[in-house]
C-alpha cells in the first residue's frame, strides 16, 4: 500500500453536526409517496371510468380520455405573481418602458411551481429580461433544483454569497459575468436563489442570454426583487 493510499484511508474531515433530521426527512418522503400514489390512483380511476363507459355504453363512439395535462397553479395565483413581478421590476428600474410579464407554460408542471418572465426596455433604451420561478413548499422534489449550497469545485460562478435573511431564510447570490471581445465591455449580473425556512424557494435569473447591451441586475436589485413576500405559492 502506498503512502498516498494510507493518507486517503486516514483522511480526517472535521464533520459539522447534521443539518437535517432523518425522521423529519422520512416523514417528508412518506408524504411525497402518498401524494404520488394519490395522483396515480386518480389517473387510474379516470381511466377505469372511461373503460367502463367504452364497454357498457350503448353508443359505440365514446371519446377516449386524453392524457391529463400538467396542472399549473390556479389562474388567480399566476396573475397575482405576474403582477407582483411587474411591480418589483418597475420598482428597481424606474422609467422602464414596454414591460411585459408572461407565465412560462413549459414550466407549468405542478400547482406548487411556476415561472414568470419579465421583459422590458429600461430608461436608457437597453433591453432586459429576467425569469423568476416560485416553488411552493409542496413542489415535487423532482422539479426543485438543488441549489442550497453556494459552491462546489465544479462551479464556475465568479462569486457566490450566502446571505441569511430575516425569518430563517437564506439567499444565495451567484455573480455571473461576460467580458466581450477586446475587454471593453464588462457585464456583470447576479442570479439568486432564496430558500425560506418553510421549504419554499424562489429563483431569479437573467433571461436575456448573451445580449451584449442587456440590462443586468445589481446585487441590491436582485435582493429587493427576490425577497418580495408576494412570491409564494400555497
Amino acid at each position: 500500500m502506498t503512502d498516498l493510499e494510507t493518507r486517503l484511508r486516514e483522511v480526517a474531515v472535521p464533520e459539522p453536526p447534521l443539518g437535517f433530521d432523518p425522521d423529519a426527512l422520512a416523514d417528508r418522503a412518506a408524504r411525497d409517496v402518498r401524494r404520488r400514489r394519490a395522483g396515480i390512483t386518480g389517473t387510474l380511476a379516470v381511466a377505469s371510468a372511461a373503460a367502463a363507459v367504452a364497454v357498457f355504453a350503448p353508443d359505440p363512439a365514446p371519446v377516449p380520455p386524453a392524457a391529463s395535462p400538467p396542472s399549473p397553479p390556479p389562474l388567480a395565483e399566476q396573475a397575482r405573481i405576474r403582477q407582483a413581478l411587474g411591480d418589483a421590476v418597475a420598482g428597481v428600474f424606474p422609467g422602464l418602458r414596454h414591460l411585459s410579464v408572461g407565465t412560462s407554460s413549459a414550466d407549468a408542471v405542478s400547482p406548487a411551481r411556476m415561472s414568470v418572465t419579465a421583459e422590458f426596455v429600461d430608461a436608457a433604451g437597453r433591453p432586459g429580461s429576467f425569469q423568476l420561478t416560485v416553488y411552493g413548499r409542496d413542489a415535487p422534489d423532482d422539479h426543485v433544483p438543488v441549489v442550497r449550497s453556494c459552491a462546489e469545485p465544479a462551479s464556475i460562478a465568479l462569486r457566490c454569497d450566502r446571505i441569511p435573511q430575516p425569518g430563517g431564510a437564506v439567499l444565495l447570490v451567484f455573480e455571473s459575468g461576460v467580458v466581450t471581445t477586446g475587454g471593453l465591455t464588462k457585464l456583470r449580473g447576479f442570479d439568486g436563489a432564496l430558500h425560506r425556512a418553510d421549504g419554499s424557494m424562489v429563483t431569479l435569473a437573467d433571461a436575456a442570454g448573451d445580449a451584449a447591451d442587456s440590462v443586468q441586475l445589481s446585487e441590491e436589485q436582485l435582493e429587493r426583487v427576490i425577497t418580495d413576500p408576494a412570491f409564494a405559492l400555497p
Binding site: 502506498t2 498516498l4 493510499e5 493518507r7 486517503l8 484511508r9 483522511v11 480526517a12 474531515v13 472535521p14 464533520e15 459539522p16 447534521l18 443539518g19 437535517f20 432523518p22 425522521d23 426527512l25 422520512a26 417528508r28 418522503a29 412518506a30 411525497d32 409517496v33 404520488r36 422534489d141 433544483p145 438543488v146 441549489v147 442550497r148 449550497s149 453556494c150 459552491a151 462546489e152 469545485p153 465544479a154 462551479s155 464556475i156 460562478a157 465568479l158 462569486r159 457566490c160 450566502r162 451567484f174 455571473s176 459575468g177 461576460v178 467580458v179 466581450t180 471581445t181 475587454g183
Partner: protein
C-alpha cells in the same frame, strides 16, 4: 409502505446519514451540497425501500444513488456558467479544512469526477474493488484503472501544490 418497512428505513437513515454525508462531501467538497445530496438520496431510497430491502443490504445501492445525484447535480446548467474571456475565476473557498488533510482534500477536489469517485470509494470509504464496481456499475478492472489514474492525478496535484508553496 408497511410500518415495519418505514421503521426500518428510519433506522437506516439515522445510522447512515453521517457516513453518506462524509462520502458526499469527499465527492463534492461542500458540506451544504453534501447534505442536499444525502437528503435527495434518502428520499429516492424511501420510494423503493420495500423492493430494495428484499434484495439484501442496501448500502451499495445507497452509494449508487448518491453518486448519481452528485453527477446529475454537477451537470446542471445552473452550475455551468460560461465565461468568454478565457480567464479562470477564483474558486470559492469551499475546502477550508486545515491540518494534514487540508491539502489532500483540496487536491482531491481537482481530480476528474469518475477518478475521484473511484478514489473516494476505494480508499476513503475503504470498500473492496467489487463493491466499488457495483456502485460505479463497471468492472473491477475499470475500478482499478480509474483508481490508479485518480491516485496518479492526485499525486501530481499534491506535488504541484507543494512546489508552489515551497
Amino acid at each position: 409502505m408497511r410500518a415495519a418497512d418505514d421503521a426500518d428505513f428510519r433506522e437506516f437513515a439515522r445510522a447512515r446519514a453521517f457516513a453518506l454525508r462524509r462520502t458526499a462531501y469527499l465527492l463534492c467538497g461542500d458540506w451544504h451540497l453534501a447534505e442536499d445530496l444525502v437528503q435527495l438520496t434518502l428520499i429516492k431510497l424511501y420510494r423503493v425501500w420495500p423492493k430494495i430491502t428484499r434484495r439484501g443490504p442496501v448500502d451499495n445501492y445507497a452509494r449508487q444513488v448518491l453518486l448519481r445525484c452528485w453527477l446529475d447535480e454537477s451537470r446542471r446548467p445552473w452550475r455551468r456558467r460560461e465565461r468568454r474571456d478565457g480567464v479562470v475565476p477564483d474558486r470559492p473557498a469551499v475546502l477550508t479544512e486545515t491540518g494534514i488533510s487540508g491539502p489532500l482534500l483540496r487536491a482531491l477536489a481537482e481530480v476528474p469526477p469518475k477518478q475521484r469517485a473511484a478514489v473516494v470509494l476505494r480508499y476513503c470509504a475503504d470498500l473492496p474493488a467489487a463493491a466499488v464496481a457495483d456502485v460505479l456499475r463497471c468492472s473491477e478492472g475499470t475500478v482499478r484503472s480509474q483508481a490508479a489514474r485518480g491516485l496518479e492525478t492526485l499525486r501530481g496535484l499534491l506535488e504541484h501544490s507543494a512546489e508552489r508553496s515551497a
